[in-house]
Amino acid sequence: MTQHPDYALSGRFLQGLAAAPRATALHLPSGPVSYEELHDTALRWAGALAAGPDGPPRVVGILAGKTLESYAGLLATLYVGATAVPLHPEFPATRTARMLTACGVSTLLLDDAGLAVRAELGDVVSGVPVLAPVVDPGGSSTGLRLPVASATPLAEPHPAGPDDVAYVLFTSGSTGRPKAVPITHGNLRHYFSVLDDRYGFGPDDRFSQSFDLNFDCAMFDLFCAWGAGASMHPVPPGAYRDVPAFVAERGLTVWFSTPSAITLVRRTGRLVPAAMPSLRWSFFAGEALHAADAVDWQTAAPGSTLENIYGPTELTVTITGHRWSPQTSPGLCVNGLVPIGSLHDGHDGVLLDADGAANEVEGELLVTGPQLTPGYLDPADDEGRFLIRDGRRWYRTGDRVRRLRNKELIYLGRLDAQVQVHGWRVELAEIEHALRGCPGIEDAITVARAGAGGTELVVFYTGEPTAPAELSRQLRQILPKGMLPRSYRHVPEFPLNSNRKVDRARLARTAAEA
């Protein structure tokens, strides 16, 4: 047995492998995959990656759905010592192409959905070697399709240093250009050591895997489960019509999703007392968690400890947590929202008021500590997002929070025009920018409202009245489906406030009243 590399994220999988080699690491719709099988697959694919025309790749773009290619591909990428860039096959090709360029992807790892998208990516990927290990294991002689069948498996996973980048994910940017966030093995090592202490997951745990792989909460699922020798269960789309049945069928002990899943379970009539008795843990992140939803979920999963966890991608998945108590938590809620809790050990937070002065009670949350990204891949994006204070580098979350009497934090809202829709960070300016590019549209303002299924976007626009379906079709070319507005309204002109600026607040009230 080799010594586990000190900082490598893949070391967590090796931990699970050592603890439970024959146990299920991943339960796909096609069936279970054991730790040994997944390890061998990842070593073979890593060998194929390393045998590429330019030697081992530096950055691997994994364009795949919730298939074996995503999970074993991520491991193979880490094993070969490269940076993983998980990408979503349902994102518009133009957006994916920009992401590939931004992080200098040197090899693509694809499933069948990814292969279909590759054809639309154009010049960006010409000359980029492709590994499609399941669809096309034989590769091709031209050298651009890497063979996995004839490749020599990697002897052992490569080590990684604390500053090596494990993955790059993208967040929404105000200019319409996604920002690339690198997260290091050092960031992740701290993150998972906090989680290990906090939760103590074991080999008998069975994790849901609801998040897409390009959403960093998926890293929680994968590496908490694997670090413990537990199994992880990607949730197929059909399972959402009866979530408790899926939880029961798999005997899940850990559920983690955005709060919109609670709405969904309620709307399908399954959010009833003790519907999910097997759950030990319930986690929600990605959007504000409503107290009423927490109460109902807790009743449906009475044996589980429920936590609201919070964090921007820049601070490595999540940076705070509030453990729900049916007795004390309701009294801590503000505006019907559950507290986000306290910062992870090793981190400091400060609340800044509008003048940039530290405030004891309320303000923009700034955080520094070992989970902080070294900075955006493009240093130009760092402008205004990081602050040097007391000789330390802080990340400005852009979130307004309040410090409660018990010192925990509670989320109040955004400082800027950014919202979260089903967990996706959305810059309203990005949507408005895209809409102004539609024929006949003069100007557009997007506002958020609380809908039955979570946050929804409503667009007001001037110019020619256009069928909503037409606008939606236009936006779908440039925006991921999670960002698509729920309603479009034509107005002859925008209302103005006393400063003669577009009165966004009034439009937001109009949208909320409908």
Partner: protein, 82 residues
């Protein structure tokens, strides 16, 4: 052609389709406002209305592309169950 129950259930999940507008066989459901959340709800309603069960492979964007593709998937299941 589909029955009235199908049309009524489907229209409830298409916020961008005006009640006056006809539902055509080739109307894009996604462009008419069917998002992933609504898709799950629609699925659950159709399954209980027609007493069928969509297999995972049928839960694709292709099946839910248009009224025609969706109705034909239901018909296939109804045909298979007799």
């Amino acid at each position: 052609m589909w029955d009235q129950r199908f049309e009524t259930i489907l229209r409830q999940h298409l916020p961008f389709l005006d009640p006056e507008e006809p539902l055509l066989g080739g109307t894009s459901l996604r462009d008419s406002g069917l998002d992933s959340l609504a898709m799950v709800e629609l699925l659950a309603m159709l399954e209980s209305e027609y007493n069928v069960r969509f297999v995972d492979e049928a839960m694709s964007m292709e099946t839910f592309a248009t009224p025609e593709t969706l109705w034909s998937a239901i018909n296939d299941m109804l045909g298979a169950s007799v």
